[in-house]
């Protein structure tokens, strides 16, 4: 299995490399220099841009609109001195990487340009950032849903969660009523506008409703009978439901309905659609872990069951979870490429691997635009598959 280990190492290397490229995308490809000296003043234009966006820094005076034309004493440019989506009309009309390019003293367009002279390599770097953002963003959302749900289902199973009947009915129905009440009555009454306040109201109302109903039901004697919550069955039913949803179809319909395309919505939808794989895996893992001796020891030692679950059982499932996660990241990146290839859901000015591929269809002779994004995508998916391969 030595060969497999080496391949796995390569896959990790590739994924970490992608992450680093995504993090440093602005320092790798930008139409501003990293450091420049203008009239004896040393500027850090790329870093400064971050400050501008965050509102921490004022614009440099005099304002530089085009760094290419600015006289500098000296300047350190990024390896790719072009921004994704910025056109370079001198090199427009699909310049091949090997063709003559009119870039003057600046670096060549290493991987060619598109119709408007936009640099393909810069586009790839920007696309890497989008891919990583979608991949990891969707992963985080699936983790947020899958870890608690799968953990509870696996650890407690069908028989370990026991409480009196009024408890379950109270929290289930009362919570639901509370949330409904918050939406129907409390929002207009308080004229709640900010999302944070709305969420606070919802949570408070949910808890109040739950406790109220729980208290009411407590007065009825038959409700005192302890019952088991079939957490595992409920979980499996939920997973079944989500697996049955035709993902791509629903995604296209949903994103077409939401009229303002945004990456966040894509991330949320992909994340929500893909949580069952994480939840299922965690459930299986915890079913195994919960019968291990150290969990027994912790339980006998009198540690609360929730603390055992979150403090002792779950952390031990995280190691193998990474494998499943990388698989999920690959899938999410592929879905994002699907969508941007179709031109749905991703803002039109965002350069992604999929959008580069779509552009290349307009002019088949530009092989560099079809080949490089596809290779990146393929390698990423392969790396993710390799990681997800069961030993």
């Amino acid at each position: 299995m030595k060969k497999g280990d080496r391949a796995r190492k390569l896959a990790i290397f590739w994924l970490v490399g992608l992450l680093l490229v995504a993090l440093g995308a602005d320092f790798l490809a930008n139409d501003r220099p990293l450091i420049a000296s203008v009239n004896g003043e040393t500027r850090f234009p790329v870093l400064h841009q971050y400050g501008r966006v965050l509102g921490w820094a004022e614009a440099y005076r005099p304002v530089v609109r085009n760094w290419y034309r600015t006289e500098t004493d000296w300047a350190v440019w990024p390896p790719v001195p072009y921004s994704a989506g910025a056109s370079d009309l001198k090199n427009s009309g699909y310049r091949s990487p090997f063709a003559a390019q009119n870039t003057g003293p600046r670096a060549r367009h290493y991987l060619g340009t598109d119709q408007l002279g936009r640099d393909v390599l810069a586009g790839l770097i920007a696309g890497t950032r989008v891919a990583v953002f979608v991949g990891f963003g969707a992963l985080i959302i699936s983790l947020l849903l899958g870890v608690p749900l799968g953990g509870i289902a696996g650890y407690f199973g069908n028989d370990r969660l026991r409480a009196p009947r009024y408890h379950w009915w109270g929290w289930g129905l009362g919570g639901l009523f509370g949330v409904l009440y918050a939406f129907l009555c409390l929002f207009p009454f308080f004229q709640a506008e900010s999302i944070f306040f709305c969420m606070l109201l919802t949570v408070v109302s949910c808890c109040c409703g739950a406790l109220l109903l729980r208290g009411l039901l407590w007065c009825i004697p038959p409700m005192h009978q302890p019952v088991r919550l079939p957490a595992d069955s409920i979980f499996l039913q939920g997973v079944e439901l989500f697996v049955n949803i035709p993902g791509l179809v629903l995604l296209i319909a949903l994103i077409a309905i939401i009229d303002r395309p945004s990456l966040f919505i894509v991330v949320v939808v992909i994340g929500v659609l893909r949580w069952p794989s994480i939840g299922r895996f965690l459930r299986a893992e915890l079913l195994r872990i919960r019968s291990l001796p150290y969990i027994e020891a912790a339980r006998i030692g009198g540690i609360g069951r929730w603390r055992v679950l979150f403090g002792h059982a779950l952390p031990n499932a995280f190691g193998p979870l990474i494998v499943v996660c990388s698989f999920g990241v690959g899938g999410a990146i592929l879905l994002e490429a699907f969508l941007s290839f179709l031109g749905i859901g991703i803002p039109a000015d965002q350069v992604t691997w999929g959008s580069l591929l779509r552009q290349s269809r307009a002019y088949p002779a530009a092989w560099w635009m079809a080949l490089f994004p596809g290779i990146l995508l393929t390698l990423t998916v392969l790396a993710a598959n390799l990681m997800g391969e069961r030993k």
């Binding site: 409904l180 009440y181 129907l184 009555c185 409390l186 207009p188 009454f189 004229q191 069955s233 079944e240 439901l241 049955n244 949803i245 035709p246 993902g247 791509l248 179809v249 629903l250 296209i252 319909a253 949903l254 077409a256 309905i257 009229d259 592929l334 490429a337 699907f338 290839f341 179709l342 031109g343 749905i344 591929l357 290349s360 269809r361 088949p364 002779a365 092989w367 079809a370 080949l371 596809g374 995508l377 393929t378 998916v381 392969l382 598959n385």
Partner: protein
């Protein structure tokens, strides 16, 4: 099933755009500015034909301050305005009074004792304005017009007498079967899917036309997959460790990782265009067959056009089936019954085909189940790339063009196919392995 129909109905409700307005001819819409009263009447008629004046669902939960009859206000924008005003003040009678005055002024005939022509546009705007401070400002601007005095009074009354505590009560109403969801479901069962907004053709007809192409391509792809993948997977397992096994394992792993839409695009770019001199296949679409052409011409044209799409559809599934079949068969080959069969003197291929295949056939069945939903989802990209007028193309066009009456049935149809596929897979599992019992324990059927 019920949940699926609910989801589709919900999607139908939140689709942007106003169906009643779409039903009206454009000339009618232009009258909104000049003859608001006539436009309002025709709009109301359109809304009633679509059943939009009925309640949405069997029951409704609402704020007690809102009246039960709000849905009878035909135009959604006005409804929104009234809703916002009521939720602001809680005093429905006052809001109603304000609305009545406003309507009387805005929709009144342009001659006579109505408002002056200058204030008319402002009044029409007020019908849509739902922010209280802005209403106040606009009304101040209209104060010079004597006709608006009763409107001013109504608004002042509305502002002076808020009843905000009324907002704290919820209300529940039972609507009975006379609601939009019920009607929609009934129409669905009758097979009436409505009309496309794009070209006014029946949706069912459009879907049926597209489904034939998709089914054709997927059918061929599936046939190809099973013809190649099953022998290959079995022999790779049977001759484990041989060069054939090693090569096919590595090749399939790579093939599985290559996104099919990329490969499809490369093929479409470079094998159907003269860009690099590989103009091997006819380009996009399904080809035109001349009237009265012989069967063989038809076959030739179709095969030329469908060859590449079928390959692109087939190879990911091929890699999937072959890999999993090999994995399952390898496990099976280590079992005792295989050794028994060998000792009995059965040949290797007899063991593989006769005994192992049946026990290792789970991935084949799983794929078969997945094929039905994939009829739509998997082929969106391939159909886009090769420009085939199938279901995927239809869905894409409809979704990006806002043709909701087509999108919703497609989703519903897809959900039905998914459920059907799962049912089929469960039956298949039971057929392949009698130990799988349906209905004995809690089955996964839904």
């Amino acid at each position: 099933m019920f949940l699926l129909s609910l989801v589709c109905f919900g999607l139908r409700q939140i689709t942007p755009g106003d169906p009643a307005e779409r039903l009206l001819p454009p000339a009618e819409t232009q009258r909104a500015a000049t003859e608001p009263a006539a436009y309002d009447r025709s709009y109301r008629r359109a809304a009633v034909t679509l059943g939009l004046d009925q309640p949405t669902f069997y029951f409704s939960l609402r704020n007690a301050a809102l009246p039960d009859t709000l849905r009878r206000i035909a135009r959604p924008q006005e409804r929104k305005m009234l809703r916002a005003l009521t939720l602001h003040s809680g005093n429905w009678p006052a809001v109603q009074e304000y609305y009545r005055e406003l309507r009387k002024l805005a929709y009144s005939a342009s001659s006579g004792d109505g408002p002056t022509t200058e204030s008319r546009p402002a009044l029409l705007r007020l019908l849509l304005q739902d922010e209280v401070p802005r209403i106040g400002k606009a009304l101040k601007g209209l104060a010079g017009d004597p006709a608006t005095s009763s409107l001013q009074n109504a608004f002042a009354n509305l502002q002076k007498n808020p009843r905000r505590y009324a907002l704290l009560l919820p209300a529940f109403a039972w609507n009975g079967p006379k609601n939009q969801y019920h009607q929609w479901l009934l129409r669905l069962f009758r097979g009436d899917l409505g009309f496309s907004l794009e070209d006014r053709r029946p949706v069912a007809q459009k879907i049926w036309k597209a489904a034939r192409w998709t089914a054709l391509i997927n059918g061929f792809a599936l046939l190809l997959v099973y013809l190649i993948a099953i022998p290959q997977g079995l022999y790779a397992a049977g001759y484990r460790g041989s060069w054939f096994d090693r090569i096919s394992t590595v090749a399939l792993f790579f093939l599985f990782g290559i996104p099919s839409f990329w490969l499809g695009m490369l093929m479409a770019n470079y094998l159907t265009t003269p860009a690099f001199g590989f103009d091997l296949f006819p380009s996009m679409g399904v080809g035109k067959v001349p009237e009265g052409a012989s069967f063989f011409t038809l076959l030739k044209v179709r095969i030329g056009h469908l060859f590449l799409p079928v390959i692109c559809m087939a190879y990911p599934a091929w890699a999937y089936v072959s890999r999993h079949l090999r994995g399952a068969a390898v496990t099976e080959l280590d079992r005792a019954y295989v050794k028994t069969a060998r000792l009995k003197g059965l040949s290797r291929s007899a063991i593989l085909w006769g005994q192992v295949l049946r026990n290792a056939s789970f991935p084949i069945i799983t794929l078969l189940a997945g094929v039905f939903p994939a009829l739509l989802a998997g082929s969106i990209l391939i159909e886009r790339i090769f420009d085939i007028p199938g279901m995927g193309q239809l869905l894409f066009r409809a979704a990006s063009g806002g043709d909701w009456p087509v999108v919703i049935p497609l989703i519903l149809f897809n959900g039905l196919l998914t459920a059907f596929g799962l049912l089929l897979a469960d039956l298949g599992y039971a057929l392949a392995d009698p130990r799988v019992r349906l209905g004995g324990t809690k089955s996964s059927l839904k």
